[in-house]
């Protein structure tokens, strides 16, 4: 049953900086089905975080959405007024970020913050100022049990600094899933964690996703995490999605030269590999290269790559933006 939860159409976002206009997103298209985990892979400057922020409408002040639509359950998130979007926040759409410090207020206990968040959501749902305290308590305890938090009652009384990195991320997960949203944007949720803790947190995330059939967009540069967690993957480069398809397909047989390059540049813990780096550096988004943004680094670059940006081509179930396939 693949019912579409999110559709991003031709999203273009620019940032106004003192250096000039940064073309952060240059026409991003993606679909997300219900219950699906989509990995958004890319390096610095690829635009993966900006995509997430656009969906969450959390772009900074100097950003402009120049073009595009983000259709969520029939509505264009970019066009609805802020008040209407706020009704969706927390209940339909939620987010998990890399650094719990930016998410958790150090001067309030976990319980206080969690309650505040739930209160603000509950209010708008019932449209009444009287809120059910007991119900909130239940939700909090249940959410923390979901993420396998030990000593839930004690944790609720603790301050963020008393918890370790892994536990803070679990609190984030608990809060994010607590009202069972349809869509969660997870931006580098485990990047700052130790390897063994990362494995725990990812496992919990997968369990919760299965339980509530949430659709997740997982933004990360760690291809290992994507391979183990996601069903579909979209590889981004310089503000565009250069390859999109099933994780099993893309990893086994990468079509785009950049995807290929990424796979070859990875050292592996499980097998011995010959590592090959991609020459050059990520492009300057104020003045990106002409034509295909990857052509200066591409071992297969042709004349046309310098002149014309490739249009998406469909190879079976894969979408690739490369002149090699058009």
């Amino acid at each position: 049953m693949s019912e579409k939860v999110l559709e991003v159409k031709n999203l273009r976002v620019e940032f106004y900086t003192y250096r000039g206009i940064v073309k952060a997103l240059n026409g991003v298209n993606l679909d997300l089905n219900k219950g699906e985990i989509l990995g958004l892979a890319g390096e610095t400057g690829s635009g993966k975080s900006v995509t997430g922020l656009s969906i969450l409408r959390l772009l900074p002040q100097n950003a402009r959405v120049v073009e595009g639509e983000i259709i969520f359950k029939g509505r264009d998130l970019l066009k609805i007024p802020e008040k209407e979007y706020n009704l969706l926040r927390g209940k339909e759409i939620n987010a998990i970020f890399q650094d719990p410090h930016t998410y958790l207020n150090p001067v309030f206990t976990i319980g206080e913050q969690f309650r505040d968040i739930l209160l603000s959501k509950k209010d708008s749902e019932n449209n009444s100022s009287k809120v059910d305290d007991k119900k909130i308590e239940e939700i909090m305890v249940s959410a923390l049990k979901d993420v396998k938090m030990p000593a839930v009652d004690r944790v609720l009384k603790m301050y963020p600094h008393e918890l370790s990195g892994g536990m803070k991320q679990r609190v984030m997960l608990a809060i994010a899933f607590s009202l069972q949203p349809s869509l969660i944007i997870a931006d580098e949720p485990t990047t700052a964690l130790d390897v063994t803790i990362q494995a725990q947190v990812l496992e919990i995330m997968k369990e919760l996703q299965r339980k509530y059939n949430t659709s997740i967009i997982l933004i990360t540069h760690d291809l290992g995490v994507i391979a183990e967690t996601c069903q579909k993957v979209a590889v981004m480069y310089a503000g565009r999605i250069v390859e999109y398809g099933k994780v099993s397909d893309v990893f086994k047989n990468p079509l785009h030269p950049y995807t290929k390059g990424l796979m070859e540049a990875l050292p592996r813990a499980d097998v011995d590999v010959k590592v090959k780096s991609i020459p050059g550096t990520v492009p300057d988004l104020v003045s990106p290269p002409s034509g295909c943004a990857f052509h200066p680094r591409c071992p297969y670059a042709m004349e046309i790559c310098k002149r014309q940006a490739p249009k998406p081509s469909y190879v079976k179930e894969r979408v690739v933006e490369c002149h090699l396939y058009s």
């Binding site: 390096e43 390897v195 063994t196 990362q198 494995a199 290992g224 813990a269 550096t281």
Partner: protein, 327 residues
């Protein structure tokens, strides 16, 4: 594998480092952070040793002790046969020319208001190297790390992450060291650039026979670069071996857990879940018994009370685990 140059260049014996915690009005010592309980290893000339651990393992502290940014509470360090544990003054300065450290964050390790040229030349001047020829030597160093002359005139914030890391390496090479400590050298770099820096490091080692201590939690990088590896947990080494053997025949439960936790960028590889519970340790209490006891799925009573003895389980393969001893 370096067979002919078989001499041990760096040897660390039972290194301990406790950081005092001060409290109260009179700033008395109220406790300690037991950052390193026992670090012991050796590195041969021209070899790369991987020092692996997560938060609380003490690996970064070990690196800092080796470049004398910290004094060890106990233990000995030997460099090229001589005891360098407590050297000071001109001896220390001489040692600083032999052993250098590359930190994880290249942006933070460069003075933001100095050009790369100034940073590098300052190092030369301080050690009175290449008098009169400083600029040319700086050019040579740039070339060595794959940067060009114009990069000399840039400020750190005007360089990309990979370029910054190369600049930091060039600066470290300005003292003409033999031994480089690499503290998470690629952690803050993009994937496509990581490989560049790793290849550069490998190339330099081949050409100039540098000895490396690679401190990291990234097992893939360890496998790629180091000949031997030491695994640390809560300030103590728990297993050490030639890298290949460690990855194929890990004996210590923590090593096994680490290896199984690494996400593999290949969806076809099915891993058996080996999730260990609990958190990485907060070393504010001294270790009693095996440091891994409270998280180990195979824990026995003896583990909680007594430190496991060192067992030799292979060629240069040592473990500290009661499970292995009992076998």
């Amino acid at each position: 594998m370096v067979m002919e140059k078989n001499d041990v260049l760096v040897k660390v014996e039972n290194l301990k480092k406790y950081f005092p915690i001060y409290g109260g009005i009179l700033q008395k010592v109220v406790g300690y952070i037991y950052a390193v309980e026992d670090a012991s290893f050796y590195i041969r000339k021209g070899e790369t040793l991987g020092l692996v651990g997560e938060s609380g393992s003490g690996k970064t502290t070990v690196g800092r002790i080796l470049v004398k940014l910290e004094e060890p509470t106990e233990g000995k360090i030997f460099y090229n046969g001589s005891n360098v544990t407590n050297i000071k003054g001109s001896e220390l300065k001489k040692y600083r020319r032999k052993a250098q450290i590359i930190f994880q964050d290249p942006y933070a390790s460069l003075n933001p208001r100095m050009t790369i040229k100034d940073s590098i030349i300052e190092v030369m001047r301080v050690h009175h190297l290449h008098k009169g020829e400083e600029y040319n030597n700086a050019l040579r160093l740039m070339e060595k790390v794959g940067l060009s002359e114009e990069h000399l005139y840039r400020f750190p914030h005007e360089l990309s992450g990979g370029q910054r890391q190369r600049a930091v390496i060039a600066r470290a090479l300005a003292v003409e060291p033999e031994f480089l400590i690499l503290d998470e050298p690629t952690a803050s770099l993009d994937v496509s650039v990581q490989a560049q820096v790793l290849d550069l490091l490998k190339e330099l080692q081949e050409k100039y026979n540098y000895t490396y201590l690679l401190i990291t939690h990234n097992l893939a990088v360890v496998r790629y670069v180091s000949e031997r590896t030491v695994i640390m947990y809560r300030g103590m080494w728990v297993e050490t071996s030639r890298t290949k053997e460690l990855f194929n025949k890990a004996e210590h439960p923590y090593t096994q857990a680490l290896l199984k936790s690494v996400p593999i960028p290949d969806p076809e590889v099915k891993k058996d879940k080996f999730l260990i519970s609990g958190e990485p340790p907060n070393p504010t209490t001294p270790v009693k018994g095996c440091p891994f006891a409270d998280r180990c799925p195979y824990v026995m009573d003896v583990c909680k009370n007594e430190m496991p003895p060192i067992e030799n389980v292979g060629d240069e393969h040592k473990v500290r685990c009661w499970l292995v001893t009992r076998k």
